[in-house]
C-alpha cells in the first residue's frame, strides 16, 4: 500500500459495510480497529506531505478533466487528522455509551462509518461534482444518525436538518452545473487559471450559490435554525460527531473554494461572511446563555463558535495568520466540542436529567467529567493555555495588523459571552446540592474519553508549531 490517500476513503467504506452485514448494534470493535488504522494512515499521509509535498492521485488513472483527481495539501491533512483523532475517541465513547440492544445504537456503526468515509472523501476531493456526492454522503449519514434517536423530537429535528442539507447541496449542485456550463470542467485545479475578476455573470451566480449552500450546511447565522434541535436532540456520541466534525466539513469546503477557484471573486463580498459570523457569535451565545437544557446550551455554543470561523474571510487575502487562526479554531473547537458533548452525555446519563439546573452538585460526584467539561470550556472561552486561546490570539493579531478593530472587538465579546454560558454550568456544578439518587453509575470509559478529548484541546495550546507547519504545506498556506 504505497499511497495512504485513497485508502482513507476505502477503509471506512469497507468497515461500514461490514458492520452493516454483521447486523444491528454489532461491529463496534471492527469500527474502532478501522478508525485506528485510519489514524495511522493519516499520520503517514502527514509525514509524506511534510517530506515530499502534495501528491495528487488521479482516480481511475485518468487525469482531469476526464477523470477525478484526489489531492491532499496541508489544510486537508489537518482536517483529516482532526477527524480521525476525534472519531477514534468518540468511537470508544460510543462503545461504552450505547447499552446492548439500545434502539439508537442499532444503526450507529454503519452510519458513522459512511459518515467518516464521506468526510475523508470530501477533504481529499479536488473535483466539484465529486464534492457534491461527498456532501450528500455526509449529509444523509448525519441525518440518519440524528433520526436514529427515534423520538418524535429527534425525527422532527432530523427532518429539518434533512431539508436544510438538501437545500444546501441543491444550491451547490446548481453552482456546479453553471461552472460546467461556463468552463466545461469541474476540476478545481483546471478552474484556477480560468476564473478571474471579469468572469461571466453566471459564474458569479455559481460562486454565490455554492458558497450560500455551504453556509447553510455550516449553520452560519441566519441559516443556523436547524442545528440546535439536531445537535441538541441526538444521542451524545452523535451530537459530538456532528458538532465537532460534520459542520467543519462544509466550512473546509468554503475555505477551499474561497482560497481556490473563487479567490478573484471573493474580495468583493469578503465582509459578508464576517458580518454573519459576528451575528452568529452574539446570537448563538445569547441563546446558549438562556438555554435551559444542557445539551441545547452546548449546541447553541456551536452556533456561536462557528461564527469565529467566518471572521477570517476579510483578512485572509492579505498575508498574515488569518488562515492559521481559522484552522486552529476549527481544530480546537472540534476537540473541545466533542469533549463537551461527551461530558454532557455522562452527566445526563448519571443524573438522568438534561437540564442546566440538574448539574447541581456534579463537582462532587463526577469530578473527572466536570474537569473535562471545564477544560473544554477553557478552549471555548479562548483562555490560555488552550488551542482556542491560540486561535483567538492569531485572529486578534491578524485583525489588528489590518486595522480591523471591529473584528477584534467581536472576538473579545464572544470570548466573554462564552465565559458567561460556560460558567453558568460550572457554577451550578460547584453548588453544594444534596446527592440525588444516582440513576446510573458513571462508566470510566466514558469519563476518560471525554477527558482525553478535552485535554487534547488544551494541550494543543501548548504546541501549535507542528500543526501550522503541516498547514503550510501546499497552496493554501
Amino acid at each position: 500500500m504505497t499511497e495512504p490517500l485513497p485508502w482513507l476513503i476505502l477503509l471506512p467504506l469497507a468497515w461500514a459495510t461490514a458492520t452493516f452485514l454483521l447486523g444491528p448494534g454489532r461491529g463496534a470493535w471492527l469500527a474502532i480497529a478501522g478508525i485506528a488504522v485510519q489514524c495511522g494512515l493519516t499520520f503517514a499521509l502527514a509525514g509524506q506531505l511534510l517530506a515530499e509535498g502534495p501528491q495528487p492521485h488521479a482516480a481511475g488513472g485518468w487525469a482531469p478533466p476526464l477523470g477525478i483527481a484526489l489531492a491532499a495539501d496541508g489544510l486537508a491533512a489537518v482536517m483529516l487528522l482532526l477527524t480521525q483523532g476525534v472519531a477514534l475517541l468518540l468511537a470508544l465513547y460510543a462503545r461504552g455509551y450505547f447499552a446492548p440492544g439500545d434502539q439508537a445504537a442499532r444503526h450507529f456503526w454503519p452510519l458513522a462509518g459512511f459518515l467518516l468515509a464521506g468526510m475523508n472523501a470530501l477533504f481529499l476531493a479536488a473535483d466539484l461534482f465529486n464534492l457534491y456526492v461527498t456532501l450528500e454522503l455526509v449529509g444523509l449519514a448525519a441525518v440518519g444518525l440524528v433520526a436514529s434517536g427515534g423520538g418524535a423530537a429527534q425525527l422532527g429535528a432530523a427532518l429539518r436538518y434533512l431539508f436544510a442539507t438538501l437545500l444546501g447541496s441543491g444550491a451547490y449542485l446548481l453552482g456546479v452545473a453553471l461552472v460546467y456550463g461556463a468552463y466545461g470542467t469541474v476540476s478545481i485545479e483546471l478552474l484556477l487559471p480560468l476564473v478571474d475578476a471579469d468572469v461571466p455573470r453566471a459564474v458569479w451566480f455559481a460562486a454565490a450559490l455554492m458558497l450560500a449552500g455551504l453556509m447553510l450546511k455550516t449553520a452560519l447565522f441566519p441559516f443556523h435554525f436547524w442545528l440546535p434541535p439536531a445537535h441538541g436532540g441526538a444521542p451524545a456520541p452523535v451530537s459530538a460527531l456532528l458538532s465537532a466534525l460534520v459542520v467543519k466539513a462544509s466550512f473546509y469546503l468554503i475555505l477551499r473554494l474561497w482560497l481556490g477557484p473563487f479567490a478573484p471573486l471573493a474580495a468583493a463580498i469578503a465582509w459578508l461572511p464576517a458580518l454573519l459570523g459576528s451575528a452568529a457569535i452574539l446570537w448563538g451565545s445569547w441563546r446558549a446563555i438562556r438555554a435551559e437544557r444542557l445539551k441545547l446550551l452546548v449546541a447553541w455554543s456551536t452556533v456561536a463558535q462557528l461564527g469565529y470561523l467566518f471572521l477570517i474571510f476579510p483578512l485572509i487575502a492579505a498575508p498574515g495568520p488569518a488562515l492559521a487562526a481559522g484552522v486552529m479554531q476549527a481544530v480546537s473547537h472540534g476537540l473541545a466540542k466533542a469533549a463537551m458533548f461527551a461530558a454532557a452525555g455522562v452527566v445526563i446519563h448519571v443524573t438522568g436529567r438534561d437540564t442546566v439546573a440538574g448539574v447541581a452538585g456534579v463537582a462532587g460526584r463526577l469530578p473527572l467529567t466536570l474537569f473535562a467539561f471545564a477544560l473544554a470550556g477553557v478552549t471555548l472561552m479562548g483562555l490560555p493555555p488552550s488551542g482556542g486561546f491560540l486561535a483567538k490570539w492569531l485572529l486578534i493579531d491578524a485583525a489588528l495588523a489590518q486595522g480591523a478593530w471591529a473584528l477584534a472587538a467581536v472576538v473579545i465579546a464572544g470570548g466573554l459571552l462564552a465565559a458567561v454560558y460556560v460558567f453558568r454550568v460550572l457554577r451550578q456544578a460547584f453548588l453544594d446540592a444534596p446527592a440525588v439518587e444516582a440513576a446510573h453509575p458513571a462508566p470510566p470509559l466514558l469519563e476518560w474519553t471525554a477527558f482525553a478529548l478535552a485535554a487534547a484541546s488544551v494541550l494543543l495550546g501548548l504546541r501549535g508549531m507542528e500543526l501550522l507547519r503541516l498547514l503550510s504545506v501546499g497552496s493554501a498556506g
Partner: protein, 216 residues
C-alpha cells in the same frame, strides 16, 4: 411576509440567472470530444457508461454508498409500530398479470444490463426495472413487505457495493483507485455492473418494501 419575500426572491433569482445564461456564449469546451477520443480504452463503447463506470467510476462508488446510507437510515426509523393496513382484496386478473410480468421484467433487466456496454442502459436502469418488478409483486400481494433485513437480505443489499469496493481496493493495491487495465476493463465493468444490478434492485425495492405497511 416571509411568503412574499421568498417568492419575490425566487422570481428575481430566476430572472437574473436566466438572463445570465443567455449572456453566455457558445460553450468554449466540453468534454464530449475527449470522452469520444478515449472511449476505445474504456472497455465499453457507450460513452455514458464509460463515464459512469470508468472515467468517473469513483463518483459512482460513492453514489452507491449514498443509496446504502438512505436504506440504513430508513430501516432505522421505519416500522416501529405503524398501524397495520386494512387488507383489501386484489383483482385476480391483476395477480395473474403480475405473475406473468415479473419474469419478463427480469429479462428486460438482464437485457438492459448487457446493453449498457454499447447503448443506453446499464446497472441503474436494470436495477430500477428489477425494483419495479418487486414493487408490482408486492402490490399484488405476491411479495410481502420487508421487516428488519436478515443476514441474506443484508448480504444481497450490500453485495454489489462490496464487490465494487473489493475491485477498487484490488486495483488500488496494483496502481491507482479504480484504474482498470485496458484489457480487462470491459470484463471488470461487466462484473461490477452485474453486482450492482442485483444490489440496486434490492435497495431500490427495499426503499419501498421496508416502508410499506401492507404485510401478509
Amino acid at each position: 411576509m416571509k411568503r412574499l419575500a421568498v417568492s419575490l426572491g425566487a422570481a428575481l433569482f430566476a430572472a437574473l440567472l436566466g438572463a445570465a445564461l443567455l449572456e453566455l456564449g457558445p460553450p468554449a469546451a466540453t468534454l464530449a470530444p475527449l470522452v469520444a477520443g478515449t472511449l476505445a480504452q474504456s472497455g465499453v463503447t457507450h460513452p455514458v457508461t464509460a463515464v459512469l463506470l470508468n472515467f468517473r467510476g469513483y463518483d459512482t462508488l460513492l453514489e452507491i454508498a449514498v443509496l446504502l446510507i438512505a436504506l440504513i437510515g430508513l430501516t432505522a426509523v421505519a416500522r416501529r409500530g405503524e398501524a397495520p393496513a386494512a387488507t383489501a382484496a386484489v383483482e385476480p386478473v391483476l395477480t395473474t398479470l403480475a405473475r406473468l410480468a415479473a419474469p419478463l421484467m427480469v429479462l428486460v433487466a438482464v437485457y438492459l444490463l448487457w446493453a449498457g456496454a454499447f447503448r443506453p442502459g446499464g446497472a441503474f436502469q436494470a436495477g430500477a426495472v428489477l425494483a419495479a418488478a418487486a414493487v408490482l409483486l408486492h402490490l399484488t400481494r405476491l411479495l410481502p413487505a420487508w421487516a428488519t433485513p436478515g443476514t441474506w437480505l443484508r448480504a444481497g443489499l450490500a453485495g454489489g457495493f462490496l464487490l465494487f469496493l473489493a475491485i477498487a481496493a484490488a486495483l488500488l493495491a496494483e496502481g491507482a483507485l479504480l484504474k482498470y487495465p485496458p484489457a480487462q476493463a470491459g470484463l471488470l465493468i461487466l462484473a461490477i455492473e452485474s453486482g450492482l444490478t442485483v444490489s440496486l434492485g434490492l435497495i431500490l425495492a427495499g426503499l419501498f418494501l421496508f416502508l410499506s405497511e401492507e404485510r401478509r
